[in-house]
């Protein structure tokens, strides 16, 4: 015989500690909860609104330079350290947490155009328009240092003079080499006064260089002849080159996908390429209204940050056509350099107004220690929002951004231009024999050709 009784075991209801939560039992029968979908939709809406409310991305500005910040470098071994250099030859090491200068590296006569740090975080390499490459020993971060010494000057460990001015420098990942870009691409060793290797393909000067973090011997450069080139150091030869319609200002490799790189183009778009198939971009990231000056990938490989000449910083998903976020302030001028912090939580931008700015990568993220319950709540909110992101109301709220007036207007103009172009194209196609007018897809449109 079956007897139905209520049975409650003490164990199930006893808490281990007084701070523990009382266990709550739910009946998960869906027929008892007919409104669950409606409830979750409402929650998604609320989460989207809350996200807007809590969106305060700007953490702080770091001022100290006397000229526009031309380039930055993050210390791959030390989270709080960030190096920046300005157009007047000033190089500084900043402590992000206190947002103060830790020390300075004086010496450059002209603008510093390139900064990079070795993977172990001990050597800083700088180069500039004064035709010199300087190596500096990075001071070890100590607790006392960050508070006291704002006037701490450091002498260069080595100074190599070369034939031409430099535009960029990048250090090999976990290696001894670094590459400079100038009249040609040159590979240097820490201990040699002259480059160990030199590459030239064509006569135009190279304007940016970036080593592949996954494959330490592969690097990509962009040159003023609108080309993007991939080199392999082991074979001491170039591998691929494409010519685009406009110049590429900067390149970033995806740290989690070593074959993929994204190029920041002068035309305001970024182009993601597969290093194996350069004749077509994998993705075109549009949103900036002016030249994209710098780009840096998040260490997670899921996002990258771009700084643009239109005075804004944007964050794109690695596979998305449009930006997830735009950061701007009234005082921020042309952005020359951006960096994603090594823990993928912050974004740094250096601009013409001599300031470095620190932003949160997720505008509404709660910083600091988060309790597990809070964490769960955040995760749930994210998940719900993500689930209902396609519904019009949620979408509208999530997408909404306030833009500076110039950008807003420029966007309008660009849209108008594109529309009229498309209209013209359509009409032309309509009035010509079928098949005679072939339109290239957007991903190929800006690529002229791949050079053998």
């Amino acid at each position: 015989m079956k007897i139905k009784t209520l049975s409650r075991s003490v164990d199930e209801y006893t808490r281990e500690r007084s701070q523990d939560l009382q266990r709550v039992f739910h009946n998960f029968d869906p027929s008892l909860r007919p409104m669950e979908k409606a409830v979750e939709y409402k929650r998604a809406l609320t989460a989207a609104k809350l996200e807007k409310i809590f969106a305060r991305p700007f953490v702080g500005a770091m001022d100290g330079h006397r000229d526009g910040v031309s380039c930055m470098a993050k210390n791959p071994n030390y989270l709080k350290g960030i190096f920046s250099a300005s157009m007047d030859g000033d190089i500084r090491l900043w402590d992000i947490s206190s947002r103060r200068t830790v020390c300075q590296f004086p010496g450059h006569q002209g603008a510093v155009r390139g900064l990079t740090v070795s993977t172990d975080g001990n050597v800083l390499v700088s180069c500039g328009t004064d035709c010199t490459v300087r190596l500096w020993k990075v001071p070890r971060p100590t607790l006392e240092d960050s508070s006291v010494s704002s006037e701490n000057f450091i002498e260069p460990a080595a100074e190599y003079v070369w034939k031409n001015a430099f535009w960029a420098v990048d250090h090999q990942f976990e290696g001894e080499l670094f590459a400079t870009a100038g009249a040609q691409l040159e590979i240097w060793n820490h201990n040699r006064a002259s480059p160990v290797q030199s590459f030239q393909w064509g006569t135009d000067s190279v304007i940016s260089v970036r080593f592949n973090p996954g494959e330490p011997d592969i690097l990509a450069t962009s040159a003023s002849d609108r080309s993007i080139t991939i080199y392999d150091l082991r074979m001491s030869s170039a591998a691929r080159r494409i010519i685009m319609m406009t110049k590429t200002n900067s390149i970033a490799w995806n740290p989690m996908e070593p074959m993929n790189l994204t190029a920041a183009n002068e035309d305001g778009s970024c182009y993601s390429f597969d290093g194996r198939k350069m004749d077509e971009a994998k993705c075109v990231h549009k949103d900036h209204v002016s030249a994209v000056m710098d780009i840096d990938f998040s260490p997670t490989g899921r996002e990258f940050v771009t700084g643009s000449y239109d005075r804004s910083v944007r964050i794109f998903p690695y596979n998305g056509g449009h930006s997830r976020e735009i950061y701007h302030t009234k005082r921020m001028q042309r952005v020359f350099c951006v960096k994603y912090s090594c823990d993928a939580t912050y974004v740094l931008s250096g601009s013409d107004d001599t300031n470095l700015r620190l932003w949160k990568a997720k505008a509404s993220e709660q910083l600091g220690v988060i309790l597990p319950r809070e964490q769960k709540k955040h995760e749930y909110n994210e998940a719900v929002k993500n689930r209902y992101k396609h519904l019009p109301e949620v979408k509208r709220i999530v997408r909404h951004r306030h833009l500076p007036k110039p950008i807003y207007k420029a966007l309008g103009i660009i849209r108008t231009v594109n529309d009229s172009k498309r209209r013209k194209e359509d009409r032309r196609r309509a009035h010509s024999a079928p098949g005679t007018i072939v339109t290239k897809p957007l991903r190929q449109r800006r690529i002229i050709k791949e050079v053998e």
């Binding site: 739910h26 979750e40 071994n77 494959e215 989690m256 769960k376 519904l391």
Partner: protein, 855 residues
């Protein structure tokens, strides 16, 4: 140009070679130089030839012309650089320049030309005609060059690879001269030794292009080895970073374990905490620790005294109650009972008292009903009402309402005591029963008991006839058992009634009065019937009653009176007697009853009902003489059934009936409802709702009507026009509706704006079908709707990372499809796919042997 070359010495030549020529081995260079020197000194013609040979050597070293290098795209790309003559080539040059020699189309003439040409060559070069034979045959045409021959504009012969000079050509003039044989030998040796010959390297751009091609392949290969990791990362619903990085202590315990006492206080504390004696004491006997926990003497004494006092009180109370229990005096108990009665509790507890109370109440109620004392019938009340004073003064009104209240309470109290009494008659009857003979029910029960005993005896006796057959006996036995079972239940029920208070009894009596009697009787019948079969159980029940205390006989009597009343409306003794007189028939009936089962019972009920209708004046008790009633009922039912059959038969036989047509039938069946009309109305309603009729223009009274003129004019023209426009629009809208021509269909074109918010206009990007998209949102993910074990995995974000930990770039791992997923990421196993299922199974697998390559 030629002259220039002629002047250039062989040294110069060698120098040139060194500067930009191909790296020829020294031996060859030497031999060439050696050969050149004598030639150079000898003859002009040979010099030219040698120069030609030089040109031949320079061909490659010269480099690709600009057109070919494609630098800066200044020149159009040429697919085939070498100029080739088509098969059917006819050169206009021949016609234009070599007119004197005739057209080459004419073969015979051409032959003559050839002969003449060789002759000329012979004359010029002084070589035998055989040397020109093959060439002339193959190449019957002559090209003239547009530009003077130079290293940038070589002769066509050179370009085509025909008419090249060989070493033999050089050797021919010096044949027979001293050292010729020696030279001949060396040359032949050189020609044999093919390995020593080094071909000229490709031009630099060409070489670089090839190099790049190779590098490209290698780089691609290098990139390809990452594909499996990238794929795995991309397909994973969640990517984890730095899960195995320890950020330091995570628990309080861990921090505490590392604690070192530094200050004096801390040290003292540590010494106490780490004291071994203390620990031992605690482990061995916790009571030792209590020694420290002292209580003051006064407190202890106080507490002890209090306990002692309470105990003594309890003991005295016990003694007293024992003594009282021993008292046998009836008067004492009666007085005690009276006391109890006085208290409200007693009234509630004792059913007898409750009954008395009810009686009193009843009396009061009767009085109230007779006098209507409190229903504003009093002189004062009448006056007050007639003068309307009750409205005027609050006090009066309150008094009157109070009176009414009293009336209501009096009557209501009555109702509550016998709740549900439908008629006064039943009440009266009850009263009658109660008043006239309280003993009859108990008597009846006793009789019934006797009867049942008898019947049981009878049942047991049947030794002959059908019933003596073994299977019949078995069946009987079985049925007896069933009956016993039923009796048991009935007894229990009965006991319940007995145990419950008198009030409840009265309630039940009331419950069963009237029509519902029959439902209830059906219930009660069985136990009563079975009782005669199973006196054992009856006895049992009796004993139970004894156990509970038989002393309150009166109570039982009351209950017993109630029970018959419960069963029927009234009881007449005569019928009882009748029943008692013929028990034999009952037994037989019993058998029939058992055989027929519940159907009969139901029938009985129905019949009883009919009976009730027919002979209202002859009530009978079912409780006492089931069998009688049964008999009658069964008879009745039979007769009725017969009648029924008769009725059907007659109806079938007598009537001449024409079968109506189908349509007629339908029409008749749905005579009342006009479906079509209704639908049309409905449709019209929907139309009106969705395309509402425009409101008729109305002049607002008072507006614009202060003169007569305006009144005459009527509505302003614009209003009328607007109204007409709106009407036209409506008709148009109605016509353009989808269901405009479908008479039997309503297609709603109403758009719910609120609902629209919950739909996407288009299918979102990653989804390919509507179903999949909807499916993705089907299950809720919240903690309220899912067990705690899966909520985490349902809500996990795409990237899980720790703030403040540096994320290193991807490290290469070999793909190893045979190995299972390792536990590098503790949560990765759980995560495996709330959404994707086993889709990414292979991609998820991870090599345990991580090979960190740094190529």
């Amino acid at each position: 140009m030629v002259g220039e070359k002629r002047r250039s010495t062989s040294k110069n030549l060698a120098k040139n070679k060194k500067r930009k020529g191909p790296h020829l081995p020294n031996s060859i260079l030497k031999t060439i130089a050696n050969e050149k020197r004598p030639l150079n000194s000898d003859e002009e013609d040979d010099e030219i030839d040698s120069d030609d040979a030089n040109v031949d050597l320079y061909e490659y070293e010269e480099g690709v012309p600009e057109e070919e290098s494609r630098k800066n795209n200044r020149y159009d790309p040429v697919v085939n650089y070498d100029y080739e003559l088509p098969e059917d080539f006819e050169d206009e040059n021949v016609e234009s320049d070599d007119d004197d020699e005739g057209g080459n189309s004419d073969n015979e003439e051409g032959e003559g030309d050839v002969v003449r040409h060789t002759r000329m060559l012979q004359a010029v070069t002084g070589m035998p005609s055989a040397a020109f034979d093959g060439e002339s045959k193959r190449k019957p045409v002559l090209f003239t060059e547009a530009y003077p021959e130079s290293e940038f504009n070589p002769t066509r012969d050179v370009l085509e690879g025909k008419g090249l000079l060989t070493i033999d050509d050089f050797m021919a003039p010096i044949e027979g001269k001293p050292g010729f044989n020696d030279l001949q030998k060396r040359i032949s040796r050189m020609q044999k030794d093919t390995q020593a010959v080094v071909h000229a390297p490709l031009p630099k751009p060409e070489r670089e292009r090839l190099e790049r091609k190779a590098v490209k392949g290698l780089v691609d290969k290098e990139f390809n080895k990452w594909v499996h990791m990238v794929k795995r990362n991309r397909e994973a619903p969640t990517v984890y970073f730095n899960q195995n990085v320890s950020l330091g202590y995570s628990t309080v315990g861990a921090i505490a374990s590392e604690f070192q006492p530094r200050t004096d206080f801390e040290k003292k504390m540590a010494s106490v905490l780490n004291d071994n004696e203390l620990g031992e004491a605690h482990d061995e006997d916790g009571a030792k620790l209590l020694e420290l926990n002292e209580v003051s003497v006064e407190d202890h004494i106080k507490y002890r005294d209090h306990i002692a006092k309470m105990r003594s009180l309890l003991f005295r109370h016990e003694l007293k109650s024992k003594r009282i229990k021993k008292i046998k005096s009836k008067t004492y108990h009666r007085l005690k009972g009276k006391d109890l009665k006085k208290s409200a509790m007693g009234a509630l507890m004792d059913p007898e008292m409750a009954k008395e109370e009810a009686m009193k109440q009843e009396a009061r109620r009767v009085e109230e009903r007779m006098t209507l004392k409190h229903k504003n019938t009093g002189k004062w009340a009448k006056r007050m009402i007639s003068r309307g004073l009750n409205v005027k003064y609050d006090g009066t009104r309150a008094a009157i309402s109070e009176q009414l209240q009293i009336n209501a309470t009096l009557s209501r109290k009555m109702n509550s005591t016998n709740d549900g009494s439908s008629s006064d008659e039943s009440d009266d009857e009850e009263e009658l029963n109660d008043g006239s003979d309280q003993d009859t029910p108990s008597k009846l029960i006793a009789k019934a008991r006797e009867k049942t005993l008898k019947t049981v005896e009878d049942d047991e006796v049947p030794n002959s006839g059908l019933l003596s057959l073994p299977f019949m006996a078995r069946a009987m036995k079985k049925k007896n058992e069933e009956a016993i079972e039923e009796a048991k239940r009935a007894l229990e029920e009965y006991e319940e009634w007995e145990n419950s208070g008198g009030e409840e009894n009265s309630k039940k009596t009331a419950d069963v009065s009237g029509r519902r009697v029959f439902g209830a009787t059906a219930k009660v019948e069985a136990p009563k019937e079975s009782r005669k079969d199973s006196d054992n159980f009856y006895d049992n029940s009796d004993s139970d009653n004894d156990m509970e205390g038989i002393e309150n006989n009166d109570l039982r009597a009351v209950r017993d009176t109630a029970s018959p009343v419960r069963n029927t409306g009234a009881i007449t003794e005569t019928e009882f007697d009748d029943d008692i007189e013929n028990p034999a028939s009952k037994t037989t009936f019993d058998v029939a009853l058992f055989a027929s089962g519940s159907w009969k019972k139901m029938k009985g009920c129905q019949n009883a009902e009919t009976k009730k209708k027919t002979k209202k004046h002859v009530p009978y008790s079912k409780s006492q003489d089931k069998k009688e009633s049964r008999d009658e009922e069964s008879e009745d039912s039979e007769s009725e059934a017969e009648q029924m059959v008769d009725g059907i038969l007659t109806s079938a036989s007598k009537e001449t009936y024409e079968i109506p047509s189908q349509a007629e039938l339908i029409q008749r069946a749905f005579a009342g409802d006009d479906v079509v009309d209704e639908f049309e109305k409905e449709k019209q309603e929907v139309l009106n709702q969705e395309v509402p009729e425009p409101e008729k223009p109305v002049l607002v009274p008072g507006w614009g009507q202060w003169t007569n003129i305006q009144k005459k004019r009527g509505l302003p023209s614009w209003m009328v026009r607007e109204h007409e426009d709106a009407k036209k629009k409506r008709t148009l809208d109605l016509k353009t509706r989808k269901d405009a021509r479908l008479r039997h269909v309503i297609i709603s074109e109403k758009v719910d704006k609120k609902a629209e918010k919950l739909h996407t206009t288009t299918l979102p990007f990653p989804y390919t079908s509507k179903e999949v998209f909807e499916h993705s949102m089907r299950m809720p993910i919240g903690p309220e709707f899912n067990p705690a074990t899966i909520v985490g995995s349902l809500n996990r974000p795409e990237v899980v990372k720790k703030a403040g930990v540096i994320i290193k770039p991807l490290k290469f791992e070999e793909a190893n499809p045979n190995e299972k997923v390792d536990d590098e990421h503790p949560r990765s196993n759980q995560k495996q796919n709330p959404k994707k299922g086993g889709k990414t199974g292979k991609g998820q697998r991870k090599g345990k042997s991580k090979q960190k390559t740094k190529a």
